[in-house]
Amino acid sequence: MDSFNFSEVSALVIEPDRFSYGIIGQILRGYGLEDLVLITTGGEAKKLLPGGRFHLLLTESLLPDMAMTSLLKWIRRHPKNEVRFLPVVMLTGYAQFSRVTTARDAGVNSVVCKPVAPVTLFDHIMRAARPDRAFIDADDYAGPCRRFHDNTPDPEQSRRASDHPMEAFRLSGPGRGL
């Protein structure tokens, strides 16, 4: 894929940190994503998401009003497909990095370590946009298939040890086993 069209994408961002909130908003606008709703609590998200308007959720791991896992489980068990299958990218701070495994087990598509750099966020959104990741419904888990792999992160490409799945996104197709 040579170009990416964010013009019709709607994103919901939950970010209580006002600086991170401002930076993420500016990054997304730089991509060309204009339909952006920035909120600070999980409660607001629960009111807005059932409308089915959003194509992407970016959320901080530490919410002021509820546990992230609680919001994720609500999303992944929601009766509406537009909510249940929503791509979710979680943002996590230095002090909360131990929550990555918990978040994965609660059903996020991808985890980004803060501070968020434009290149890192872009690549993680592309990961969340991949069409070849099935949704799993089981007793103890609902969310994107966790048997999902892509290229080894290139430490030269990022300030953080984040994945850079662009090549996998470009080359995605049946049979790659991701």
Partner: protein, 159 residues
Amino acid sequence: MAVKVTPVPNRLGTLLRKPGGISRDMALAAAGHNVERLREEFVGAIPGEIAALEELLAACGAGNVSPDILDAMLRRAGQILTLSGTYGYDPLDTVVKRFCDLAIGMIEKKIGDAAPVGVHLRAMRLVCPGAPELPPDEIADMLAGLSRVHAHYGVGREG
């Protein structure tokens, strides 16, 4: 309940693939430019964020700090890390991460001594934007001092 595997129609992917978009390089350049436009305002806010940490500590009194206050300080420190990491203030970034390691360790080990917290806040002031720039050897000495504090309390990487 049996495990059900459902191929998902990815609305996001479908929209991103529509014609008329921009290249990855163009998107990243525009995003980087937008972030830079916030630099002056956001970097200017860092001293106030450190002051907020100092106020939290000062409110404790009696040389003790509670786990709740440490938790509140960790959240606030995360905001400073957003700014130091985004705008390239590496010494401050390192000191704030050391502070986070300390606070996490103190919560885990139920340590309530406010003194090591105060030491880290003073170190933040030394490498805060607007402070006189420290030579690299003085920064190294300061970080070594913080490491000794961590070792004394048995927290962080030295713990």
